[in-house]
Symmetry: C2
DNA sequence: GTTAGCATGTAAGGAGTTACATGATTTT
DNA sequence: AAAATCATGTAACTCCTTACATGCTAAC
Protein backbone atom coordinates (compact mmCIF):
# COMPACT_ATOMS: atom_id res chain seq x y z
CA UNK A 1 0.00 0.00 0.00
CA UNK A 2 2.94 2.31 -0.44
CA UNK A 3 3.33 5.03 -3.02
CA UNK A 4 -0.04 5.42 -4.69
CA UNK A 5 -0.44 9.10 -3.93
CA UNK A 6 -1.71 11.95 -6.02
CA UNK A 7 -2.29 10.60 -9.50
CA UNK A 8 -3.66 13.78 -10.97
CA UNK A 9 -5.01 14.43 -14.41
CA UNK A 10 -1.63 15.00 -15.95
CA UNK A 11 -0.28 11.54 -15.26
CA UNK A 12 -3.15 9.87 -17.07
CA UNK A 13 -3.03 12.31 -19.95
CA UNK A 14 0.70 11.87 -20.42
CA UNK A 15 0.57 8.10 -20.22
CA UNK A 16 -2.35 8.06 -22.62
CA UNK A 17 -0.67 10.23 -25.20
CA UNK A 18 2.64 8.42 -24.93
CA UNK A 19 0.79 5.18 -25.46
CA UNK A 20 -0.36 6.41 -28.84
CA UNK A 21 3.17 7.34 -29.81
CA UNK A 22 6.49 8.29 -28.16
CA UNK A 23 7.09 12.01 -27.96
CA UNK A 24 9.24 14.70 -26.39
CA UNK A 25 7.96 17.17 -23.80
CA UNK A 26 7.32 20.16 -25.99
CA UNK A 27 5.26 18.22 -28.48
CA UNK A 28 3.47 16.44 -25.66
CA UNK A 29 2.35 19.72 -24.25
CA UNK A 30 0.89 20.84 -27.55
CA UNK A 31 -1.00 17.60 -28.07
CA UNK A 32 -2.18 17.83 -24.48
CA UNK A 33 -3.62 21.28 -24.91
CA UNK A 34 -5.13 20.41 -28.25
CA UNK A 35 -6.82 17.41 -26.70
CA UNK A 36 -8.12 19.15 -23.60
CA UNK A 37 -8.18 22.70 -24.88
CA UNK A 38 -11.67 23.50 -23.62
CA UNK A 39 -10.99 22.38 -20.05
CA UNK A 40 -7.47 23.21 -19.08
CA UNK A 41 -4.07 24.19 -20.42
CA UNK A 42 -0.93 22.84 -18.83
CA UNK A 43 2.33 24.70 -18.63
CA UNK A 44 5.87 23.36 -18.82
CA UNK A 45 6.24 24.08 -15.16
CA UNK A 46 3.89 21.20 -14.45
CA UNK A 47 4.65 18.96 -17.39
CA UNK A 48 8.38 18.50 -16.94
CA UNK A 49 8.21 17.74 -13.23
CA UNK A 50 5.52 15.23 -14.05
CA UNK A 51 7.69 13.53 -16.65
CA UNK A 52 10.53 13.42 -14.17
CA UNK A 53 8.31 11.78 -11.65
CA UNK A 54 6.99 9.22 -14.11
CA UNK A 55 10.59 8.48 -15.03
CA UNK A 56 11.44 7.93 -11.37
CA UNK A 57 8.51 5.54 -11.05
CA UNK A 58 9.73 3.61 -14.06
CA UNK A 59 6.57 4.17 -16.06
CA UNK A 60 8.37 5.86 -18.92
CA UNK A 61 11.94 5.87 -20.25
CA UNK A 62 13.99 8.56 -21.93
CA UNK A 63 15.25 7.99 -25.41
CA UNK A 64 17.96 10.55 -26.12
CA UNK A 65 18.74 10.13 -29.78
CA UNK A 66 22.55 10.50 -29.52
CA UNK A 67 23.62 11.25 -33.02
CA UNK A 68 26.69 9.08 -33.56
CA UNK A 69 28.56 11.43 -35.91
CA UNK A 70 29.14 14.17 -33.32
CA UNK A 71 32.85 14.32 -32.35
CA UNK A 72 32.55 12.79 -28.88
CA UNK A 73 33.05 15.26 -26.02
CA UNK A 74 30.37 17.82 -26.76
CA UNK A 75 27.81 15.09 -27.22
CA UNK A 76 24.21 16.22 -26.74
CA UNK A 77 24.45 19.13 -24.37
CA UNK A 78 20.82 19.87 -25.06
CA UNK A 79 18.75 17.80 -27.39
CA UNK A 80 15.28 16.41 -27.74
CA UNK A 81 14.37 13.77 -25.26
CA UNK A 82 11.83 11.34 -26.54
CA UNK A 83 9.80 9.58 -23.89
CA UNK A 84 8.06 6.28 -24.27
CA UNK A 85 6.01 3.98 -22.10
CA UNK A 86 7.54 1.01 -20.35
CA UNK A 87 5.66 -2.21 -19.71
CA UNK A 88 4.87 -0.93 -16.21
CA UNK A 89 3.67 2.30 -17.75
CA UNK A 90 1.22 0.47 -19.97
CA UNK A 91 0.03 -1.53 -17.03
CA UNK A 92 -0.45 1.61 -14.96
CA UNK A 93 -2.35 3.26 -17.79
CA UNK A 94 -4.62 0.28 -18.09
CA UNK A 95 -5.18 0.34 -14.35
CA UNK A 96 -6.06 4.03 -14.36
CA UNK A 97 -8.46 3.50 -17.23
CA UNK A 98 -10.19 0.65 -15.42
CA UNK A 99 -10.97 2.52 -12.23
CA UNK A 100 -14.52 3.78 -12.53
CA UNK A 101 -14.48 6.03 -9.47
CA UNK A 102 -15.13 9.69 -8.75
CA UNK A 103 -11.77 10.61 -10.25
CA UNK A 104 -13.19 9.53 -13.59
CA UNK A 105 -16.40 11.52 -13.50
CA UNK A 106 -15.60 14.66 -11.57
CA UNK A 107 -15.07 17.83 -13.55
CA UNK A 108 -11.28 17.68 -13.67
CA UNK A 109 -10.95 14.04 -14.57
CA UNK A 110 -13.87 13.29 -16.83
CA UNK A 111 -12.51 14.88 -19.99
CA UNK A 112 -9.23 13.00 -19.87
CA UNK A 113 -10.84 9.70 -19.06
CA UNK A 114 -13.32 10.17 -21.86
CA UNK A 115 -10.60 11.09 -24.33
CA UNK A 116 -9.06 7.66 -23.88
CA UNK A 117 -12.29 5.71 -23.88
CA UNK A 118 -11.23 3.72 -26.89
CA UNK A 119 -8.69 2.01 -24.62
CA UNK A 120 -11.26 1.52 -21.87
CA UNK A 121 -13.38 -1.58 -21.30
CA UNK A 122 -16.97 -1.18 -22.43
CA UNK A 123 -18.48 -1.83 -19.00
CA UNK A 124 -16.17 0.70 -17.38
CA UNK A 125 -17.10 3.27 -20.00
CA UNK A 126 -20.75 2.82 -19.19
CA UNK A 127 -20.24 3.14 -15.46
CA UNK A 128 -18.21 6.30 -15.89
CA UNK A 129 -20.82 7.88 -18.14
CA UNK A 130 -23.54 7.00 -15.66
CA UNK A 131 -21.46 8.29 -12.76
CA UNK A 132 -20.94 11.55 -14.57
CA UNK A 133 -24.61 11.83 -15.33
CA UNK A 134 -25.76 11.32 -11.79
CA UNK A 135 -23.13 13.79 -10.64
CA UNK A 136 -24.59 16.35 -13.02
CA UNK A 137 -28.13 15.53 -12.00
CA UNK A 138 -27.33 16.34 -8.39
CA UNK A 139 -25.90 19.61 -9.55
CA UNK A 140 -29.03 20.23 -11.60
CA UNK A 141 -31.22 19.91 -8.55
CA UNK A 142 -29.15 22.28 -6.49
CA UNK A 143 -29.03 24.68 -9.42
CA UNK A 144 -32.78 24.65 -9.88
CA UNK A 145 -33.30 25.28 -6.19
CA UNK A 146 -30.86 28.19 -6.29
CA UNK A 147 -32.62 29.58 -9.33
CA UNK A 148 -35.99 29.48 -7.63
CA UNK A 149 -34.58 31.48 -4.74
CA UNK A 150 -32.87 33.94 -7.05
CA UNK A 151 -36.04 34.56 -8.99
CA UNK A 152 -37.62 36.11 -5.90
CA UNK A 153 -35.04 38.81 -5.54
CA UNK A 154 -34.77 40.55 -8.87
CA UNK A 155 -31.11 40.35 -9.72
CA UNK A 156 -31.30 40.11 -13.48
CA UNK A 157 -27.68 39.25 -14.14
CA UNK A 158 -27.41 36.61 -11.45
CA UNK A 159 -30.54 35.10 -12.88
CA UNK A 160 -29.16 35.20 -16.38
CA UNK A 161 -25.95 33.53 -15.21
CA UNK A 162 -27.65 30.77 -13.31
CA UNK A 163 -30.03 30.21 -16.18
CA UNK A 164 -27.20 29.83 -18.60
CA UNK A 165 -25.40 27.52 -16.20
CA UNK A 166 -28.49 25.40 -15.80
CA UNK A 167 -28.98 25.10 -19.52
CA UNK A 168 -25.34 24.12 -19.98
CA UNK A 169 -25.66 21.32 -17.48
CA UNK A 170 -28.95 20.18 -18.99
CA UNK A 171 -27.27 20.08 -22.35
CA UNK A 172 -24.43 17.94 -21.05
CA UNK A 173 -26.92 15.55 -19.49
CA UNK A 174 -28.70 15.16 -22.82
CA UNK A 175 -25.35 14.47 -24.44
CA UNK A 176 -24.57 11.81 -21.85
CA UNK A 177 -27.97 10.26 -22.33
CA UNK A 178 -27.29 9.85 -25.99
CA UNK A 179 -23.86 8.37 -25.38
CA UNK A 180 -25.20 5.98 -22.77
CA UNK A 181 -27.91 4.92 -25.17
CA UNK A 182 -25.37 4.15 -27.84
CA UNK A 183 -23.17 2.26 -25.41
CA UNK A 184 -26.04 0.10 -24.24
CA UNK A 185 -27.18 -0.65 -27.77
CA UNK A 186 -23.60 -1.62 -28.54
CA UNK A 187 -23.39 -3.95 -25.58
CA UNK A 188 -26.63 -5.68 -26.53
CA UNK A 189 -25.42 -6.18 -30.05
CA UNK A 190 -22.21 -7.68 -28.72
CA UNK A 191 -23.88 -10.11 -26.34
CA UNK A 192 -26.42 -11.15 -28.98
CA UNK A 193 -23.99 -12.26 -31.64
CA UNK A 194 -20.63 -12.93 -30.02
CA UNK A 195 -19.21 -14.25 -33.27
CA UNK A 196 -19.25 -11.35 -35.72
CA UNK A 197 -16.31 -8.97 -35.93
CA UNK A 198 -17.79 -5.92 -34.21
CA UNK A 199 -14.83 -3.55 -34.11
CA UNK A 200 -15.20 -2.22 -30.55
CA UNK A 201 -16.95 1.11 -31.17
CA UNK A 202 -20.47 2.48 -31.52
CA UNK A 203 -21.07 4.12 -34.85
CA UNK A 204 -22.34 7.55 -35.83
CA UNK A 205 -20.19 10.33 -34.44
CA UNK A 206 -19.44 12.47 -37.47
CA UNK A 207 -21.43 15.69 -37.43
CA UNK B 1 2.14 50.47 -4.88
CA UNK B 2 2.37 48.32 -1.79
CA UNK B 3 0.06 45.46 -0.87
CA UNK B 4 -2.16 44.85 -3.86
CA UNK B 5 -1.26 41.21 -4.38
CA UNK B 6 -3.39 38.19 -5.16
CA UNK B 7 -7.00 39.33 -5.33
CA UNK B 8 -8.47 35.97 -6.27
CA UNK B 9 -12.02 35.06 -7.05
CA UNK B 10 -12.99 34.55 -3.46
CA UNK B 11 -12.26 38.09 -2.36
CA UNK B 12 -14.57 39.55 -4.96
CA UNK B 13 -17.29 37.02 -4.31
CA UNK B 14 -17.20 37.60 -0.57
CA UNK B 15 -17.19 41.36 -0.88
CA UNK B 16 -20.00 41.20 -3.39
CA UNK B 17 -22.20 39.00 -1.25
CA UNK B 18 -21.51 40.96 1.91
CA UNK B 19 -22.46 44.10 0.05
CA UNK B 20 -25.91 42.70 -0.53
CA UNK B 21 -26.31 41.90 3.15
CA UNK B 22 -24.13 41.13 6.18
CA UNK B 23 -23.69 37.46 6.91
CA UNK B 24 -21.71 34.95 8.91
CA UNK B 25 -19.24 32.53 7.35
CA UNK B 26 -21.34 29.42 7.18
CA UNK B 27 -24.19 31.17 5.44
CA UNK B 28 -21.77 32.96 3.18
CA UNK B 29 -20.40 29.69 1.97
CA UNK B 30 -23.82 28.38 1.10
CA UNK B 31 -24.75 31.52 -0.82
CA UNK B 32 -21.39 31.36 -2.52
CA UNK B 33 -21.86 27.84 -3.75
CA UNK B 34 -25.43 28.53 -4.76
CA UNK B 35 -24.30 31.50 -6.79
CA UNK B 36 -21.35 29.83 -8.49
CA UNK B 37 -22.48 26.24 -8.22
CA UNK B 38 -21.73 25.34 -11.81
CA UNK B 39 -18.17 26.61 -11.72
CA UNK B 40 -16.61 25.96 -8.36
CA UNK B 41 -17.37 25.10 -4.77
CA UNK B 42 -15.37 26.63 -1.99
CA UNK B 43 -14.62 24.93 1.29
CA UNK B 44 -14.35 26.43 4.74
CA UNK B 45 -10.65 25.87 4.57
CA UNK B 46 -10.44 28.67 2.05
CA UNK B 47 -13.32 30.83 3.16
CA UNK B 48 -12.34 31.47 6.75
CA UNK B 49 -8.72 32.36 6.00
CA UNK B 50 -10.04 34.71 3.36
CA UNK B 51 -12.35 36.41 5.82
CA UNK B 52 -9.48 36.74 8.26
CA UNK B 53 -7.40 38.36 5.60
CA UNK B 54 -10.14 40.77 4.58
CA UNK B 55 -10.54 41.64 8.23
CA UNK B 56 -6.82 42.37 8.50
CA UNK B 57 -7.06 44.60 5.45
CA UNK B 58 -9.91 46.49 7.06
CA UNK B 59 -12.35 45.72 4.25
CA UNK B 60 -14.83 44.01 6.54
CA UNK B 61 -15.60 44.10 10.26
CA UNK B 62 -16.85 41.46 12.66
CA UNK B 63 -20.13 41.97 14.41
CA UNK B 64 -20.35 39.52 17.29
CA UNK B 65 -23.90 39.88 18.55
CA UNK B 66 -23.15 39.71 22.29
CA UNK B 67 -26.48 38.93 23.83
CA UNK B 68 -26.74 41.20 26.85
CA UNK B 69 -28.78 38.88 29.07
CA UNK B 70 -26.09 36.24 29.41
CA UNK B 71 -24.69 36.26 32.97
CA UNK B 72 -21.30 37.86 32.19
CA UNK B 73 -18.30 35.53 32.45
CA UNK B 74 -19.29 32.81 29.98
CA UNK B 75 -20.15 35.42 27.39
CA UNK B 76 -20.07 34.16 23.81
CA UNK B 77 -17.42 31.47 23.85
CA UNK B 78 -18.52 30.47 20.38
CA UNK B 79 -21.24 32.31 18.56
CA UNK B 80 -22.10 33.51 15.11
CA UNK B 81 -19.85 36.17 13.76
CA UNK B 82 -21.59 38.42 11.32
CA UNK B 83 -19.34 40.18 8.86
CA UNK B 84 -20.16 43.39 7.07
CA UNK B 85 -18.41 45.67 4.63
CA UNK B 86 -16.57 48.77 5.76
CA UNK B 87 -16.35 51.92 3.68
CA UNK B 88 -12.96 50.73 2.40
CA UNK B 89 -14.54 47.41 1.57
CA UNK B 90 -17.19 49.04 -0.57
CA UNK B 91 -14.55 51.11 -2.27
CA UNK B 92 -12.45 48.03 -2.94
CA UNK B 93 -15.45 46.18 -4.33
CA UNK B 94 -16.24 49.05 -6.63
CA UNK B 95 -12.63 49.10 -7.76
CA UNK B 96 -12.61 45.37 -8.50
CA UNK B 97 -15.84 45.69 -10.43
CA UNK B 98 -14.47 48.52 -12.52
CA UNK B 99 -11.34 46.75 -13.73
CA UNK B 100 -12.14 45.35 -17.14
CA UNK B 101 -9.01 43.21 -17.52
CA UNK B 102 -8.24 39.54 -18.15
CA UNK B 103 -9.17 38.73 -14.56
CA UNK B 104 -12.73 39.62 -15.47
CA UNK B 105 -13.07 37.49 -18.58
CA UNK B 106 -10.89 34.47 -17.98
CA UNK B 107 -12.62 31.26 -17.01
CA UNK B 108 -12.13 31.57 -13.26
CA UNK B 109 -13.12 35.19 -12.93
CA UNK B 110 -15.87 35.71 -15.46
CA UNK B 111 -18.68 34.06 -13.56
CA UNK B 112 -18.14 36.08 -10.41
CA UNK B 113 -17.74 39.35 -12.25
CA UNK B 114 -20.88 38.66 -14.23
CA UNK B 115 -22.84 37.77 -11.12
CA UNK B 116 -22.30 41.27 -9.79
CA UNK B 117 -22.91 43.08 -13.06
CA UNK B 118 -25.80 45.01 -11.58
CA UNK B 119 -23.22 46.90 -9.51
CA UNK B 120 -20.93 47.39 -12.51
CA UNK B 121 -20.85 50.41 -14.79
CA UNK B 122 -22.52 49.82 -18.14
CA UNK B 123 -19.41 50.54 -20.21
CA UNK B 124 -17.33 48.16 -18.10
CA UNK B 125 -19.95 45.46 -18.50
CA UNK B 126 -19.76 45.81 -22.24
CA UNK B 127 -15.98 45.63 -22.32
CA UNK B 128 -15.94 42.54 -20.14
CA UNK B 129 -18.51 40.80 -22.31
CA UNK B 130 -16.54 41.64 -25.43
CA UNK B 131 -13.30 40.53 -23.80
CA UNK B 132 -14.86 37.24 -22.86
CA UNK B 133 -16.20 36.79 -26.35
CA UNK B 134 -12.90 37.38 -28.10
CA UNK B 135 -11.24 35.06 -25.59
CA UNK B 136 -13.69 32.35 -26.55
CA UNK B 137 -13.31 33.06 -30.23
CA UNK B 138 -9.59 32.42 -30.01
CA UNK B 139 -10.36 29.16 -28.29
CA UNK B 140 -12.84 28.35 -31.00
CA UNK B 141 -10.20 28.67 -33.68
CA UNK B 142 -7.74 26.46 -31.88
CA UNK B 143 -10.48 23.99 -31.19
CA UNK B 144 -11.55 23.83 -34.83
CA UNK B 145 -7.95 23.31 -35.90
CA UNK B 146 -7.53 20.51 -33.38
CA UNK B 147 -10.75 18.93 -34.55
CA UNK B 148 -9.63 18.96 -38.16
CA UNK B 149 -6.45 17.12 -37.16
CA UNK B 150 -8.34 14.65 -35.01
CA UNK B 151 -10.74 13.83 -37.81
CA UNK B 152 -7.89 12.32 -39.81
CA UNK B 153 -6.99 9.75 -37.21
CA UNK B 154 -10.19 7.93 -36.36
CA UNK B 155 -10.44 8.20 -32.61
CA UNK B 156 -14.19 8.29 -32.21
CA UNK B 157 -14.29 9.29 -28.56
CA UNK B 158 -11.72 12.03 -28.84
CA UNK B 159 -13.69 13.37 -31.73
CA UNK B 160 -16.92 13.20 -29.80
CA UNK B 161 -15.33 15.04 -26.89
CA UNK B 162 -13.84 17.79 -28.98
CA UNK B 163 -17.07 18.17 -30.88
CA UNK B 164 -19.04 18.57 -27.70
CA UNK B 165 -16.48 21.05 -26.42
CA UNK B 166 -16.67 23.03 -29.61
CA UNK B 167 -20.43 23.20 -29.48
CA UNK B 168 -20.34 24.30 -25.86
CA UNK B 169 -18.06 27.17 -26.70
CA UNK B 170 -20.13 28.11 -29.74
CA UNK B 171 -23.17 28.17 -27.52
CA UNK B 172 -21.53 30.47 -25.03
CA UNK B 173 -20.50 32.81 -27.82
CA UNK B 174 -24.08 33.00 -29.03
CA UNK B 175 -25.18 33.78 -25.50
CA UNK B 176 -22.61 36.55 -25.25
CA UNK B 177 -23.71 37.95 -28.59
CA UNK B 178 -27.22 38.24 -27.34
CA UNK B 179 -26.13 39.90 -24.10
CA UNK B 180 -23.89 42.32 -25.94
CA UNK B 181 -26.72 43.18 -28.28
CA UNK B 182 -28.98 43.95 -25.34
CA UNK B 183 -26.32 46.03 -23.63
CA UNK B 184 -25.73 48.09 -26.74
CA UNK B 185 -29.42 48.66 -27.29
CA UNK B 186 -29.64 49.74 -23.68
CA UNK B 187 -26.80 52.20 -24.05
CA UNK B 188 -28.34 53.75 -27.15
CA UNK B 189 -31.65 54.17 -25.38
CA UNK B 190 -29.88 55.84 -22.48
CA UNK B 191 -27.94 58.31 -24.62
CA UNK B 192 -30.99 59.11 -26.71
CA UNK B 193 -33.26 60.21 -23.92
CA UNK B 194 -31.15 61.09 -20.89
CA UNK B 195 -34.18 62.36 -19.04
CA UNK B 196 -36.47 59.38 -18.52
CA UNK B 197 -36.07 57.12 -15.50
CA UNK B 198 -34.48 54.09 -17.14
CA UNK B 199 -33.76 51.87 -14.14
CA UNK B 200 -30.29 50.65 -15.06
CA UNK B 201 -31.04 47.23 -16.59
CA UNK B 202 -31.86 45.72 -19.97
CA UNK B 203 -35.19 43.96 -19.91
CA UNK B 204 -36.24 40.47 -20.87
CA UNK B 205 -34.38 37.82 -18.94
CA UNK B 206 -37.13 35.58 -17.59
CA UNK B 207 -37.28 32.26 -19.46
C1' DG C 1 -29.60 12.14 25.78
C1' DT C 2 -27.97 11.54 21.41
C1' DT C 3 -27.80 12.24 16.63
C1' DA C 4 -27.80 15.71 13.01
C1' DG C 5 -26.84 19.98 11.40
C1' DC C 6 -25.05 24.63 12.40
C1' DA C 7 -20.77 27.19 13.10
C1' DT C 8 -15.75 28.35 13.40
C1' DG C 9 -11.36 27.44 12.72
C1' DT C 10 -6.15 25.33 11.66
C1' DA C 11 -2.23 22.53 9.70
C1' DA C 12 -0.38 20.03 6.12
C1' DG C 13 -0.05 19.48 1.66
C1' DG C 14 -1.37 18.83 -3.44
C1' DA C 15 -1.58 20.54 -7.98
C1' DG C 16 -0.36 23.71 -10.96
C1' DT C 17 1.23 28.62 -12.42
C1' DT C 18 4.49 32.42 -13.26
C1' DA C 19 8.73 33.96 -14.01
C1' DC C 20 13.01 32.96 -14.86
C1' DA C 21 17.20 30.78 -17.06
C1' DT C 22 19.31 28.51 -20.81
C1' DG C 23 20.33 26.44 -25.20
C1' DA C 24 19.26 24.66 -30.13
C1' DT C 25 17.22 25.20 -34.62
C1' DT C 26 14.80 27.37 -38.22
C1' DT C 27 13.30 31.28 -40.73
C1' DT C 28 13.84 35.82 -42.63
C1' DA D 1 23.17 37.75 -38.06
C1' DA D 2 18.74 38.67 -35.94
C1' DA D 3 14.35 37.11 -34.72
C1' DA D 4 11.26 33.57 -33.95
C1' DT D 5 10.22 29.32 -32.31
C1' DC D 6 11.55 24.98 -30.63
C1' DA D 7 13.09 22.72 -26.44
C1' DT D 8 14.24 21.78 -21.50
C1' DG D 9 14.27 22.84 -16.99
C1' DT D 10 13.87 25.10 -11.85
C1' DA D 11 12.31 27.93 -7.78
C1' DA D 12 9.07 30.46 -5.60
C1' DC D 13 4.64 31.04 -4.93
C1' DT D 14 -0.72 30.88 -5.02
C1' DC D 15 -4.83 29.07 -4.37
C1' DC D 16 -7.39 25.84 -2.69
C1' DT D 17 -8.48 21.11 -0.52
C1' DT D 18 -8.51 17.50 2.97
C1' DA D 19 -8.57 16.16 7.32
C1' DC D 20 -8.78 17.34 11.64
C1' DA D 21 -10.38 19.71 16.02
C1' DT D 22 -13.84 22.06 18.56
C1' DG D 23 -18.25 23.72 20.29
C1' DC D 24 -23.23 25.13 19.93
C1' DT D 25 -28.25 24.23 18.98
C1' DA D 26 -32.30 21.96 17.57
C1' DA D 27 -34.92 17.77 16.82
C1' DC D 28 -36.21 13.06 17.83
Amino acid sequence: MAGKKGAGVLELAVLGLLHESPMHGYELRKRLNALLGMFRAFSYGSLYPCLKQLLAKGLIVEDRPEEPNVPLALQSRRSKIVYKLTAEGKERLQQLLTEAGPAAWEDEGFGVHFAFFSHTRADVRLRILEGRRSRLEERLERLRAALARTRERVDTYTLELQNHGLESVEREVRWLNELIGRERAEQEQQTKNSSKTTPDMPRETGR
